[in-house]
């Protein structure tokens, strides 16, 4: 649905997007992640034909973003980052205007406007002037606009910032529903949400793609993934540590005091096998009482922070 090859964007001499290549298949929901200023919005603006790329190629729904801009824009529903809207119009009036711009005929226009208003829960705000809407409602108007023409591809730049928790949940549900019929590319900083709605993420740092893959794979790839954490009380901590280290599948055990005098935390690094039961049995034999035993789940947040830090190191190394 979306194919990007070596897409590059310079703002003057500043390289904002550096030869990115990726694909989004039909029906996928892909999250575009990255720290502030990574180039997400820039990449999205090139794909929606708002800005020309400096180099590279890209197609959306089979149409070239350079030579077939009109067809690209016909296939895309786009919600820009800060949801610019005509402040003086009423919600319903604005959506009708946008429907006309999208080429919907008079008969279809009204039913579509009703549908998206319903969908984005704007029914009670239909006559309200946009200037007086709260941020969350503006956001919904932007989303309603993107959905108007029932486009093949939805590109949403931070669709859920500013929404209340209930609305975030609603938006998430909505995006999941949309995913059944649309291809979605969204950028976001809200990682739990990305984790729930996206089947795949692409991570940009300083204009470059540093990760592209399924979320569970990426999370598994970070250092310390799947460590088992054990908190227990007993004597001869170092002996216990060595015994744990001798268990089958264990690579390394770190010991640290856990605050109280005979309470310790063991961080058990394994080759991937689950050693929780063996560890519990071992501690029971040694007369330790177990307070907590779990496998640390690495989060997308850890992945994100680690990737950004790595890039920082590379950059520092490169500069020297």
């Amino acid at each position: 649905m979306i194919e990007v090859q070596d897409l590059t964007k310079y703002y003057g001499a500043f390289l904002a997007v550096d030869r990115i290549s990726f694909e989004v298949a039909e029906g996928e929901v892909v999250g575009l992640l990255g720290p502030n200023g990574a180039g997400k919005t820039t990449a999205i603006r090139m794909l929606t034909c708002f800005m020309p790329a400096s180099a590279g190629r890209a197609t959306v729904n089979g149409f070239d973003i350079f030579s077939q801009g009109l067809q690209v824009r016909e296939s895309v529903g786009y919600m820009p980052e800060n949801v610019p809207l005509y402040e003086d119009m009423r919600v319903g009036e604005y959506l009708t205007f946008r429907a006309r711009l999208r080429g919907l005929g008079p008969a279809k226009r009204d039913t579509r406007v009703d549908e998206v208003i319903q969908r984005c829960q704007l029914s009670d705000r239909r006559r309200q002037i946009i200037r007086t809407l709260s941020k969350g409602y503006r956001q919904r108007v932007g989303l309603a606009d993107a959905l108007l023409a029932d486009p093949k591809v939805l590109i949403l730049d931070e669709p859920t910032i500013g929404l209340d928790p209930g609305q975030i949940r609603e938006a998430r549900k909505l995006i999941q529903e949309l995913a059944q019929r649309h291809t979605v590319l969204l950028s976001s900083h809200i990682l739990p949400e990305v984790e729930q709605v996206c089947s795949r993420i692409i991570m940009l740092v300083a204009g470059r793609i540093v990760a592209n893959g399924r979320i569970d794979e990426l999370k598994g790839s970070i250092a310390g993934a799947g460590a088992t954490v054990l908190e227990a009380r007993g004597s001869d901590a170092d002996g216990t540590r060595r015994a744990l280290a001798a268990l089958h599948g264990v690579k390394k055990v770190d010991l640290s005091p856990a605050g109280e005098s005979d309470l310790f935390t063991f961080a058990i690094e394994t080759d991937g096998s689950d050693v929780r039961e063996a560890a519990a049995a071992l501690l029971a034999r040694r007369n330790w009482t177990v307070r907590d035993l779990h496998r640390a789940k690495s989060t997308l947040e850890e992945f994100f922070v680690q990737k950004v830090a790595e890039q920082g190191l590379f950059k520092a190394a490169g500069r020297r």
Partner: protein, 266 residues
């Protein structure tokens, strides 16, 4: 076509959302009233001279100059505001062409301009009621006003496409319109005055004569107000109509190109 009309419709409505439109309306007719009524009241013979055909020439001539100041204010936000508020992003990522955007905006502004002229029909009503106006002259006058409005609006739209600051757009448009009306009148007059230098040498006299002649003709040629006067005097010349239409088309064409250039600039 339907997209152009949608854009026009929105633009036209946008005028009524903002106080600028009402202020312009009041300003136009207040200034017009001052220019027309004050001399009439001061004159001992009253406003309409008995026995003379009633005419609106004063209205038309004054309008063309007042509009130099009013049109930039009416056109300044057309694209500047879109760029400043960021709505250009939703506008240009909708499936519309640059030409549709420019035409839609243009027609919207022209629509408002025509509405702005409407109250002057009241004055016409007065003429009909109390005098014996020459229909041909009045038609020619209105045609002239519409044509000159087309040029003014196109110029204002062009400057608005060039900058995101509406005040800058208004000032540049005022400068351009001032040049093609008032300043050209002055310059054409100045060119004629050159003749009075009357140098002694034959070759110098020839040169000055030529310069004066060409200069005068050039400034008369590009002087929009001058051409407009033909209409306000009741003349409809094919040449003048063509001139206004060609200038408008040319300015709109440049506007489309400037909007397109956003795509390869950036």
């Amino acid at each position: 076509m339907s997209k152009t009309l949608a854009l026009m419709n929105r633009e036209l409505r946008a005028y009524f959302y903002s106080p600028v439109a009402y202020v312009a309306l009041v300003a136009l007719y207040a200034v017009l009233a001052v220019f027309l009524l004050v001399p009439g009241l001061l004159s001992p013979r009253g406003y309409f001279e008995a026995g003379q055909p009633a005419e609106m020439r004063a209205v038309f001539d004054t309008m063309a100059y007042i509009l130099v100041f009013i049109m930039p204010i009416l056109t300044m936000r057309l694209l500047s505001e879109e760029m400043n508020k960021g709505t250009i992003e939703t506008l240009m990522t909708a499936p519309v062409t640059d030409t549709q955007v420019v035409l839609g905006k243009y027609l919207g502004a022209m629509g408002f301009y025509l509405l702005l002229l409407a109250p002057s029909l009241l004055y016409l009503g007065l003429l009909v009621a109390y005098g014996n106006p020459d229909a041909g002259m009045i038609l020619a006058g209105y045609l002239g006003l519409v044509l000159i409005g087309m040029v003014y609006t196109a110029v204002g739209l062009l400057t608005s496409t060039c900058t995101r600051y509406d005040i800058v757009s208004a000032i540049v448009a005022l400068f351009v319109l001032g040049t093609i009306t008032l300043l050209c009148t002055v310059l054409a007059w100045g060119a004629t005055a050159l003749r009075h230098l009357a140098p002694t040498a034959d070759w110098a006299r020839w040169l000055v004569d030529r310069l004066s002649d060409w200069g005068h003709r050039f400034f008369e040629y590009i002087n929009v107000a001058k051409r407009y006067q033909d209409f306000s005097q009741g003349k409809i010349a094919f040449d003048d109509v063509t001139y206004f239409l060609v200038v408008t088309a040319l300015v709109l064409f440049i506007t489309v190109k400037v909007l397109e250039s956003r795509k390869w600039r950036a």
